[in-house]
Symmetry: C2
Subunit: 418 residues, 2 copies
């Protein structure tokens, strides 16, 4: 008998038929003799529908606190219905909201972090032989305010819960068969990975692979929670995410990720004084703008150029911030560039295999593209390049690193949101 | 400055436009200098839509606990949206679920009674100059289980809250202008009452007038909460419900109610022994069947006949129960009758005005109808009659008791559900 946490995203429970299929799957697991805790997101379009309602009602930006009150109902509907569906199959289930499940978060709305889990009610229900259904994506502050965890929140709920109740495994059910060597919508011969390490998964998730949220992976790594990413539409084995993952056939690269949500900002002719860079990035951080790759070019005549990337949606705000500190920093010019893409190769084997990055640069050059920026870590190399030929680049890299398979991938419905 | 509780039903907030209108009304009240606590029901069809979903998912009756988890989301959506709408108008508001508002109930699902209110969060928010929006119809048990209060629950939430925070008045906003002398859909010259006493309102509500739920009226009477029933679509004065109400022009009858949800069951030839009746009604009570009027006819040859009314939906179950105790009670025959209606006249003046009931019997006889059963209290008389000529009967009684007015009544949208 194992203690299993199963997480189903919004598209897996998107309509009554899918809800019933998920209920069947859970009750089969229970009948195999396992204890099951299930985390579920809001049904399909629920969240969008609720947001639409606010747009019809509000002329100003709604308070984040009230937005959390509103959006958290989506998961509450899901858990109640899923519990009913399981009852209909003759199993006993009980649903909990975030606050009922003892999910405590910091006092921030829209993207709260979990601070503590008090799973007594869950454990008691498991002792009473019940399947426990927990609303993902939500929690409560110490003062009884309802919070939501933001994007990828249900993944995080599942992993954090698995850690808190010491589950044997946390299964993340989604609309694809597992984690792929790259986006199967772009590369039809993408390879489903049998295993991947937390670190590799973390890089892939951070670099744009939507299948798991980085925060959830981080949580899994920190608490050593074994994860399995698998399809809610079939019984294929999925991908195991764990501390040490076996590399197949000596491949150095596990996967290729890309991120189109990239803009480059260059500040040219910055006066060479101590602390100039710090001023820029402190000002950006104050406005909650995340900076990714930073590159400084050589100093000439007492002035330096440097470039960095931000997400596309932050670009205009970042330019404003920089203009605002022009007089205190002192620089000649600011430029920005869109239509870029960040392509990354990830693999724990890169450290011990010389020439992996070199091959990446070579493949990109052979396509006649120049590389704008480069960033590396022990297990990844990222290049920022012109975005217009993304598909060609990904396909060429996929082939060059020996990742192509013979079989074509079935790509399911819309990807999960929460 | 007054402390006001305002309650808006589901049709008053049925769509974004109505929601905005309600928000405007509330913020006007606030700007007049009052402290406002608002209780609101689920938007329009939300509850029905949720129930539809359960029908698509469940093949068995869903557990009542999960039904409460599900349905309570309807009010949570309403309070969040209404709070946002008020924010859009530049006022500060905060929404609370039942559990956040400190609404404690007994541990029963679908029709829990309020056991305690701990309004600290509400009072603190009022101190901070906020408009407080509370989800009607819901509460929490001491163990943190979400409960719903059943039909009329939002009325009860509003009145109970008004009592707990010692509000100066509890305004119940609905789709009609107030409490009428009878159903204005039947009698176009029905009279809007300026005042009515708790006791009269309680009788009318119990006897089928849907404008206020009996439980809410009872609560108001017990805690002496001044109520006003008024329209959410205009600023007309509405009806005051209070301890002592002035009777207009010496009328003895305040209002006429009817209830079509009536079935008669007769048990014939019951052996005359002590405790026979108790056996029957104990057995019915055990199955949660409410019995209304009970009539026993004379004893002949050591056997008695008696009749009672139950609600239509309980009829078949009641017949089963009686068959089940046939051997222990001993009787000759059971019969039942549908297509009946209970018509009632209500008025505190009946006690001091002779002949009021006699006039009722006379009016009904003059229409050529026989009276099947009669029941009386100090302030009401009810007759069970054939249901086919209900409208005629009500109109004739309304005229006979001098209740007709010259002005015709505008009848609004669908009546409130919660």
């Amino acid at each position: 008998m194992s203690l299993i946490v199963m997480k189903f995203g919004g598209s897996s429970v998107g309509d009554p038929e899918r809800m019933k299929r998920v209920a069947k799957r859970i009750s089969e697991r229970k009948q195999e003799g396992h204890q099951c805790v299930v985390v579920v997101s809001a049904m399909g379009d629920t969240t969008d529908d609720l947001i639409d309602l606010t747009k019809q009602i509000c002329t100003t930006t709604p308070p984040a606190r009230e937005m959390d009150m509103l959006l958290s109902t989506g998961e509450q509907v899901s858990v109640a219905l899923l519990s009913m569906a399981i009852h209909s199959l003759g199993c006993s289930a009980v649903s909990f909201t975030g606050w009922q499940a003892g999910m405590y978060t910091e006092d921030v709305h829209g993207k709260a972090r979990i601070t503590d889990i008090q799973p007594e009610r869950i454990l008691k229900a498991l002792d009473n032989d019940k399947i426990v259904i927990v609303a993902g994506f939500q929690g409560m502050t110490g003062e009884g305010e309802i919070t939501t965890l933001g994007r990828g929140g249900s993944d995080t709920t599942a992993v954090a819960l698995a850690a808190a109740i010491k589950a044997d495994v946390c299964e993340i059910f989604t609309d694809v068969d597992g984690v792929y060597s790259t986006d199967p919508r772009i590369v039809r011969v993408a390879r489903k990975l049998n295993e991947i390490s937390y670190d590799e998964m973390l890089e892939l998730a951070n670099l744009g692979a939507a299948v798991l949220h980085p925060r959830a992976v981080e949580y899994a790594k920190n608490y050593n929670v074994p994860l399995v990413v698998r399809s809610s539409f079939n019984h294929n084995e999925g991908t195991k995410v764990k501390e040490e993952a076996v590399m197949e056939q000596g491949l150095a690269v596990r996967g290729i990720a890309y991120d189109k949500n990239v803009a480059r900002i260059s500040i040219l002719g910055v006066e060479e004084k101590v602390g100039q860079l710090a001023k820029v990035f402190t000002a950006l951080a104050k406005e909650q703008i995340d900076v990714d790759i930073i590159v400084q070019s050589g100093v000439m005549n007492g002035a330096a150029d440097f470039s960095f990337t931000v997400s596309l949606s932050d670009k205009d705000k970042a330019l404003q911030v920089i203009e605002g500190i022009r007089s205190t920093v002192g620089f000649r010019e600011v430029t920005s560039q869109e239509n870029l893409v960040k392509v990354s190769i990830v693999g724990a084997g890169m450290v011990s295999t010389p020439g992996v990055a070199a091959k990446m640069f070579e493949v990109i050059s052979e396509l006649g593209l120049s590389i704008n920026m480069v960033s590396t870590s022990e297990i990844k190399t990222s290049c920022v390049i012109d975005g217009s030929r993304l598909i060609e680049v990904i396909q060429a890299l996929h082939t060059a690193y020996g990742l192509d398979t013979d079989s074509q991938v079935f790509v399911g419905g819309p990807s999960e949101r929460r």
